[in-house]
């Protein structure tokens, strides 16, 4: 057991993500983003999201990650206590590096999305020869 005790935090709700066709709250997932020489990795906490309900979109430099949580309770259930709500997780980032779109990999384990974005090979510097006139 580690010494640190986890503090409870309310989920951050997204103020405006454009209007969605489905009503319901939209939350900002907590993320870790780190970079190595070859790739950028993003980890996002998305509890309750099945891998088939995750969508990742990279358009130009804009990376959009979203995931939907399916209805938790059956119709017969009545709430006695509700401390958290579920809905959609949504977050957008602007990437500064060029990404090799064809080799992006995404996995979901225990409600955490792991997205690996390999950097595109840098355009090799070209040497321009100046010819004498």
């Amino acid at each position: 057991m580690s010494d640190k005790e986890l503090q409870v935090r309310d989920k951050r709700e997204l103020e405006s993500a454009g209007e969605r066709t489905k009503p319901g709250p939209v939350f900002i997932p907590a993320v870790d983003i780190f970079e190595s020489e070859a790739e950028i990795t993003l980890l996002a906490d998305m509890p309750g999201v099945a891998s088939e309900n995750v969508s990742i979109d990279l358009h130009e430099n804009q990376l959009t990650v979203s995931g939907e949580v399916e209805q938790l309770t059956s119709e017969k259930e009545e709430y006695l206590l509700q401390e958290f709500e579920t809905g959609i997780f949504h977050r957008q980032f602007t990437l500064s590096d060029r990404i090799d779109q064809s080799s992006i990999t995404a996995t979901v384990k225990d409600g955490v999305l792991r997205l690996v974005l390999p950097k595109a090979e840098k355009v090799k510097p070209r040497k321009i020869e100046v010819k004498a006139g």
Binding site: M1, S2, K4, E5, L6, Q7, V8, D10, E13, A30, V31, D32, I33, F34, E35, S36, E37, T41, L43, D45, M46, P47, G48, V49, A50, L72, T73, S74, K76, E77, E78, Y79, L80, L81, Q82, E83, F84, E85, V108, D110, G111, V112
Partner: protein, 154 residues
């Protein structure tokens, strides 16, 4: 460690002016909360993890969001009407040659105790953790379940 017992103020279906006043007070409290806080969640205990508790005829259901927690690191115990959820969230190191841009996810241990309104059949409690969502099903004890008694013609 903060432990907050949760006791729902439930009364029967009989008209009871005091419970009506309590209900009104709760309602006022809820309205006040919705004015000051946009979230609907009522009376959060302030202890990790947040819980949702529901019931149907036969069971209580306790749900908690535990992303990135290995099911093997979760320990669930019952004691009378109390449910104890213990565990640890580990975040493994990601190699030495990485530089972090953002670090919002946290690791640490947690313990939460909550009370259920009635007795439960502790031998039949089941728990699953799916996609980082823990669901504990606690069957109500047979003596507290509503039973319909058939009236036979004489």
């Amino acid at each position: 460690m903060t432990i907050i017992k949760w006791r729902p103020g439930r009364s029967g279906y009989r008209f009871d002016p005091f419970s009506e006043m309590q209900r009104l007070q709760r309602e006022m409290h809820r309205i006040y909360n919705t004015l000051t806080d946009t979230r609907e969640a009522s009376r959060p205990a302030g202890v990790y993890p947040h819980l949702n508790i529901t019931e149907d005829e036969d069971n209580y259901y306790v749900r908690a969001e535990l992303p990135g927690v290995d099911p093997e690191d979760i320990e669930i115990t019952t004691q009378g009407n109390d449910l104890i959820i213990n565990g640890e969230r580990k975040i493994p190191l990601e190699g030495e040659n990485v530089s972090y841009h953002r670090r919002e996810r946290e690791a640490g241990s947690f313990k939460r105790i909550t009370s259920l309104p009635t007795h439960i059949d502790s031998s039949k409690v089941a728990a699953v953790c799916k996609n980082g969502l823990l669901i504990i099903t606690l069957p109500k004890a047979p003596e507290v379940k509503a039973r319909q008694i058939e009236v036979k013609p004489a």
